[in-house]
């Protein structure tokens, strides 16, 4: 019974709730996403606080949807009285429950439409990530604030701005027309990638990883790859990349709270279910003719995930892929990763030569320190490790750099 309850509550709080928000938001319009969220949150709280007393109703998700819809209607009516828009609420009252109460992990059409809306190019990338975490993933402002190391009030303001911007740009909550679909889908994929990264290496704070963000990003990427409208090689490649990288989450930070380098991570603790899942997506991603950045990144993730150790890793191949990738994505982060791969494949001198100068990156300084150490230039290396320690953005990162410094 306990397990069933856990599953039921999780499934209601996440899947049913996000589907309900999406269904309501779609009918209410982009300007009233907050009304939909409030209504569903209210229904969830009501359900959860009543059920210990009366037991779980026969159709919990239907129960939730009725309460949420009534609440949304109330909220919208009181707003409508002010705005004299009562007529447009009629479709909500008559709405059928077509999408409500489904428990599988797929994205409903409503949810996909909402994901497209909150990842709209009219919004800045950071707005998209925040908005998606709140509205599609159903995380709280507090959770998002702690994950993004921001103040809850700042996050709330960013969300309010994003909602206003959507309303002002007349963005409808609907899937984009065919001629815009490819671009808009790419904008969603980019947002999910950022969401994942924010969870995988938090840009600041006490914790290096925010697993919740990663889990949500993997879930949405997989759903994107499964929905007929967004399915395709690029979405499969993104799902492969995120699943196989998420597989390494359990070992990102050691038991002592210090960030662990790839070579120090006990690979038997990686999530092999996720790796298998990722490989399946990777295989499906090979169907298309076009090689996207997601394909390249996914292939690198696969090479890491399937190697038995860092020594056994095909660094030469990884360096080649990074060559490709830097043609498509000329960011310093890619250049840095490429230099590390080159160093592993061809030795520290080649790695050092390939290193880009990135100001303010602890990893850039640390990589330089490692190569210099390997070349026996320990005094110079020390300076770079010191710089890396000073630049570290999270506590586990800082402690890793310190450890390097002592070594």
């Amino acid at each position: 019974m306990g397990v069933e309850i856990n599953r039921l509550v999780d499934s209601l709080a996440r899947d049913s709730a996000s589907r309900l928000v999406a269904a309501l938001a779609r009918r209410l319009g982009a300007g009233r996403i907050a009304v939909a969220e409030d209504a569903v949150q209210h229904a969830l709280l009501q359900a959860l606080s009543t059920w210990p007393f009366k037991g779980v109703p026969a159709k919990p998700e239907a129960w939730l949807s009725v309460v949420a819809r009534n609440r949304a209607l109330d909220l919208a009516r009181s707003e409508a009285r002010r705005l004299l828009l009562a007529d447009e609420l009629m479709p909500l009252a008559n709405a059928s429950a077509e999408n409500e109460g489904r428990f599988d992990r797929e994205l409903s059409d409503d949810e996909l439409a909402l994901l497209f809306a909150v990842c709209h190019p009219a919004l800045s990338p950071e707005m998209r990530v925040t908005f998606a975490l709140k509205t599609v993933c159903g995380l709280t402002v507090t959770q998002i604030a702690s994950g993004l190391l921001s103040e809850p009030t700042a996050i709330a303001q960013r969300l309010a701005r994003a909602r206003r911007q959507l309303a002002a740009s007349n963005v409808a909550i609907e899937t984009p027309p065919p001629d815009l679909l490819a671009d808009r889908a790419e904008s969603v994929r980019t947002a999910l990638y950022l969401m994942f990264n924010e969870g995988y290496s938090a840009s600041s704070g006490a914790a290096l990883v925010q697993p919740e963000f990663c889990v949500e990003a993997v879930r949405l990427a997989r759903a994107l790859a499964q929905h007929p409208m967004t399915a395709g090689p690029a979405s499969d490649a993104l799902a492969a990349l995120l699943a196989m990288t998420a597989a390494r989450l359990p070992t990102r930070v050691g038991l002592d709270g210090v960030a662990q380098l790839l070579e120090d991570q006990p690979r038997d603790q990686w999530d092999h279910g996720l790796i298998a899942l990722g490989l399946a997506h990777l295989e499906r991603s090979a169907r298309g003719g076009k090689l996207t950045v997601w394909h390249l990144r996914a292939e690198i993730a696969a090479l890491h995930a399937t190697a038995s150790s860092t020594a056994q890793t095909d660094w030469r191949r990884i360096a080649e892929i990074y060559d490709h990738l830097s043609d498509l994505d000329a960011s310093p982060v890619v250049a840095l990763a490429r230099a590390v791969a080159v160093g592993r494949a061809e030795g520290p001198a080649a790695g050092l030569a390939a290193l880009p100068t990135i100001d303010g990156s602890p990893y850039g300084e640390a990589a330089r320190g490692v190569f210099l150490t390997e070349l026996g230039r320990c005094e110079e290396a020390r300076r770079h490790f010191e710089a890396a320690t000073a630049l570290a953005r999270t506590e586990p990162e800082r402690r890793l750099m310190e450890r390097r410094l002592r070594a």
């Binding site: 309850i5 709080a13 959860l48 606080s49 037991g55 959770q143």
Partner: protein
Amino acid sequence: MSQYMLLLHQVPNYNVDLPRERMLEVTKRYMAWADTLRQKGKLVGGEKLAAGGVRHVRAKDGKPVVSDGPYAEAKDVIGGYFVLEARDTAEVEAIVQDCPHLALAPTNWIEIRPIESMEDVRKAAAAS
């Protein structure tokens, strides 16, 4: 077997801002706790009480006067109740030990009240 009422005391609106994960976790335990009692036949009933619409009715100069319950400002309200069936108070105390109502807020507390049974009344009457 006797019946007992558990009165669930709380400070109104205290846990409104409980983080969602914590809320979900406590709810799961709460539902499991109630379900176990229900399956053992120990849970006779219970209701969650609404926070709004509260009225106090008092006699003033011999006439009932209705006033709104000052609930938002109250320091202690009853948020709900359970009726249990148990051998004795000790068993109820044991059951209440892990009632998740206590985990929802540090200010929450539970009052155990034995329900006056007709059996007791009859015995008491016979003995007097």
